[in-house]
């Protein structure tokens, strides 16, 4: 292996990290909006307004996850194979929830019957809350380490995946998405709905700060990322804390745009920290550090990384361009008069 392939595999690690951060930043708020339909909507019209506020976006947001998965498959086949087979049962649940949630948006307003809508509404709320929780759990286990053997095979038991550390991780992501989503609602709605969203965001800030603090502390105690990465992670932690404080401040000031930006920053910093803490490992073995999967031993060959790099660098600007354009087109707040599609 020469110098360039190593650099490329490191670049792809960064790209995959960016794709996951993009996914949690974007799908994060639509998870939050999904949860909020069960918390701040008083009427069917309001619930629909909430769903429609993410109507044009949620599908595109979810593609960030699909692209991250595809990029992982292409750039780090071993990472993809070990992770997806190792987390078999959690991923079955994730898939069922993603399936249910996706069609629920499309189906729920197609019929007027209350039982019909109620069923899909429950699916939206439950899936929107459980998905970030499960993603949080999975990412927490990545930092903590998993029983991966010398053949890169992961044999995780229930407690390897579900334990106090990962549950706190799951809760952190869920609450973070909730606040992020409530702020998105406050940006895209008017009147009472906007006010209720801000009110609830303010209330959720306290428990959010608490779980994030506990999670940071547990990460310090139970994982090696602070020792491996040292000052870099401390800086990230400080940045995260600052962004969180600013988010709380802007929520109180009712400046939802800035507050939304700050919760987004917290999400980005949190997940960036995970990847910084892991690097150059992609999966940590709890059995023996010699069995760790790294960006070097899990990567594809130099040729395919080069092709993928060219393709990604060509396409990504367009993708970002038209996604931003679509947010620009739908920048206006939804009010009572708006025609609702979903």
């Amino acid at each position: 292996m020469g110098g360039i392939p190593l650099l490329l595999s490191e670049l792809w690690f960064v790209l995959i990290a960016v794709l996951f951060i993009g996914f949690f930043f974007l799908e994060g708020f639509d998870f939050g909006v999904g949860m909020s339909t069960g918390l701040i909507a008083k009427t069917d019209r309001e619930r629909r307004t909430l769903i429609n506020s993410i109507g044009p976006f949620w599908d595109g947001n979810e593609v960030w996850l699909l692209t991250a998965g595809g990029a992982m498959f292409a750039a780090f086949p071993h990472w993809y194979a070990t992770l997806f087979s190792g987390f078999y049962l959690p991923l079955v649940v994730v898939l069922l929830l993603l399936i249910g949630r996706g069609v629920a948006f499309e189906f729920r307003s197609k019929m007027k019957q209350q039982r019909w809508r109620r069923t899909w509404d429950i699916i939206i709320v439950v899936a929107s809350a459980l998905l970030p929780f499960l993603f949080g759990v999975v990412f927490a286990t990545l930092m903590k380490g998993l029983p991966i053997d010398e053949n890169m095979q992961m044999h995780a038991g229930f407690l390897d995946i579900v334990n106090p550390y990962t549950v706190v991780g799951g809760l952190s992501v869920t609450l973070l998405c909730l606040v992020h989503g409530l702020l998105f609602v406050s940006l895209r709605t008017v009147g009472e709905l906007r006010e209720r969203a801000l009110q609830l965001a303010k209330k959720v800030m306290m428990p959010l700060v608490a779980v994030l603090a506990i999670y940071a502390l547990l990460t310090y105690l139970m994982t090696d990322v602070f020792t491996v990465r040292g000052w870099a992670l401390w800086i990230m932690a400080l940045l995260g804390a600052a962004a969180l404080a600013l988010a709380a401040y802007f929520i109180r000031q009712q400046r939802e745009g800035w507050a939304f930006g700050m919760t987004g920053a917290v999400i980005a910093i949190a997940f960036a920290s995970v990847f910084i803490g892991l690097f150059p490992r992609v999966m940590v073995s709890s059995i023996n550090s010699a069995f760790d999967l790294t960006v070097y031993n899990a990567a594809s060959g130099p040729y395919s990384l080069k092709v993928m790099t060219i393709v990604a660098c060509t396409l990504l600007p367009f993708v970002l361009g038209y996604q931003i354009w679509s947010y620009y087109i739908f920048r206006k707040r939804l009010n009572e008069q708006h025609h609702l599609e979903y």
């Binding site: 701040i40 009427t43 069917d44 599908d59 692209t67 292409a74 750039a75 078999y88 069922l96 087109i329």
Partner: protein, 471 residues
């Protein structure tokens, strides 16, 4: 049951289900785009009504296609992790490009299309639906490039026990891809066309919204004719390619145990006995297999027994004969459904051209309604033949399906997921058909039910969480 069998079953079930929706999405969105183009060019409201009506059906279908597609991407890693390790370098690239190029495009522009009727200019809105079509089309390009690699691996070298890509353009100029892509994409356009002609025929029989459905039928039947002929021609080229690259699949799809005489006859039907490796009750058409294989009425086609011996020489001991009955019959079902569609599209085009649609014989219109099922049958049968006929290989010549399965996933886990996915898909299928039928019955001018709200309804009860936000 063993994990391999369960993984096979799960893959077959989820992929066949997913592939009900994919071709319909591609086919329907093209028709919607054509209708909206007519609206923008001619300015007639009726074309907008048509685009919106078929667009609604498209969206319901698209949603199911998207969510079942997520599972497809995850499944390689979950159930076939050894396969993923072996081919990720080559096979993962088109998948990643598919997501980056196609999925982003279709998901973003479908959002703009659904919600943008009042916010975008007519032309920009029209551009959005064409970009959705482009997205679905490009998605097909990349996933079929990936599948073609499994049928006919090119552009790679084995390194450290893994297939590593060394020629990206070889993947895109893979002969298999060049025959498989047109065949599949014509099949998709045909699917959209026959669903639209079938539903239109139903509405025309009922004399409901005749103006809308006559026009819909006319547009769709032309696409149906062109694409069903396209399927047949591209299928012919694919068969010829198959004889060269995967002769075993071809022999199995013909039930040819021993090398045929010259010219080779085509077996219409036969009773196949895979244990004794012989057929009985064959009905044959002389010379036709030679024509299918070589485009001329001469040349013999190798039989499975000889090929098996050859494969054993090349790949070592083992049984390289795929499940013959499944391959044989799925091929015939595909051809029968395809042939029937060509005839129906021809006669339908004739009626549309002669403006005789409204006085068409009820048997024909009823047949068109029944024909909605044909493209789905043909698509599924075609893929069953392609994938089952490649067995025991998953990557032809390099990796068997057995070797690709995840070693760390137990049979119980796969059984659980198979049951869970099947249950979820069954519900999805039922709900989807139910919504389709409702939309069709309501017709294009129905008051949009989604505009009605239940006020004040609160599914989560009086105290469902928002009491915390009461000021």
């Amino acid at each position: 049951m063993d994990p391999i069998m369960l993984s096979r079953i799960q893959y077959a079930l989820t992929t066949i289900f997913h592939f009900f929706f994919v071709p319909l999405s591609i086919g329907l969105v093209l028709l919607v785009a054509i209708m909206e183009t007519l609206y923008v060019m001619k300015g007639k409201e009726i074309y907008k009504t048509m685009a919106k009506f078929w667009g609604k059906l498209f969206l319901i279908n698209f949603a199911v296609g998207v969510v079942t597609g997520i599972l497809q991407e995850f499944q390689f890693g979950m159930n076939w992790s050894e396969y993923s390790r072996f081919v990720g370098d080559v096979f993962g690239a088109p998948l990643a490009i598919e997501a980056l190029l196609a999925f982003f495009m279709e998901s973003t522009f479908i959002g703009l299309w659904i919600f943008g009727w009042d916010r975008l200019s007519k032309k920009v809105h029209l551009a959005c639906i064409w970009l959705v079509f482009a997205g679905t089309f490009l998605s097909a390009v990349w996933i079929l490039a990936a599948n073609s690699f499994m049928q006919h691996p090119v552009g790679f070298a084995i390194n450290n026990g893994r297939a590593e890509m060394n020629d990206f353009f070889a993947l895109l100029t893979n002969g298999q891809f060049l025959v498989e892509f047109p065949h599949t994409i014509f099949g998709a356009l045909m699917t959209g066309a026959f669903v639209v002609t079938g539903i239109s025929a139903y509405k025309l029989m009922k004399k409901q919204d005749v103006e809308v459905f006559r026009r819909s039928f006319n547009i769709a039947v032309i696409i149906g004719l062109v694409s069903s002929l396209g399927v047949a021609f591209s299928g012919h080229f694919q068969a010829q390619y198959l004889v060269e690259t995967q002769p075993m699949k071809m022999a199995a799809s013909e039930g040819t145990w021993t090398t045929t005489e010259d010219p080779a006859p085509w077996t219409v039907i036969a009773s196949i006995d895979p244990d004794k490796q012989e057929n009985s009750g064959e009905i044959k058409i002389p010379g036709l297999l030679s024509y299918l294989s070589y485009s001329k009425f001469s040349g013999s086609v190798k039989g499975m027994k000889e090929l098996n011996a050859e494969y054993q020489q090349t790949y070592g001991p083992g049984d390289y004969i795929p499940p013959v009955r499944t391959t044989f019959w799925s091929f015939r079902v595909m051809i029968a459904a395809g042939g029937l569609m060509i005839l129906l599209a021809m006669y339908g085009t004739y009626l549309a051209w002669r403006k005789k649609l409204e006085v068409a014989k009820p048997w024909f219109m009823r047949l068109m309604v029944f024909a909605i099922s044909l493209p789905f049958i043909a698509n599924s049968a075609g893929w069953i033949m392609t994938e089952v006929g490649r067995q025991p290989w998953t990557v032809f010549g390099y990796m068997t399906t057995e070797a690709g399965v995840s070693p760390n996933v137990s049979a119980g886990m796969i059984l659980f997921s198979t049951i869970a996915f099947t249950a979820a898909y069954t519900v999805l299928g039922i709900v989807m058909v139910f919504l389709f039928v409702r939309k069709i019955k309501a017709g294009p001018y129905a008051v949009d039910k989604s505009e009605e709200h239940d006020e004040p309804a609160d599914p989560f009860g009086v105290d469902g969480g928002y009491s915390v936000v009461t000021k």
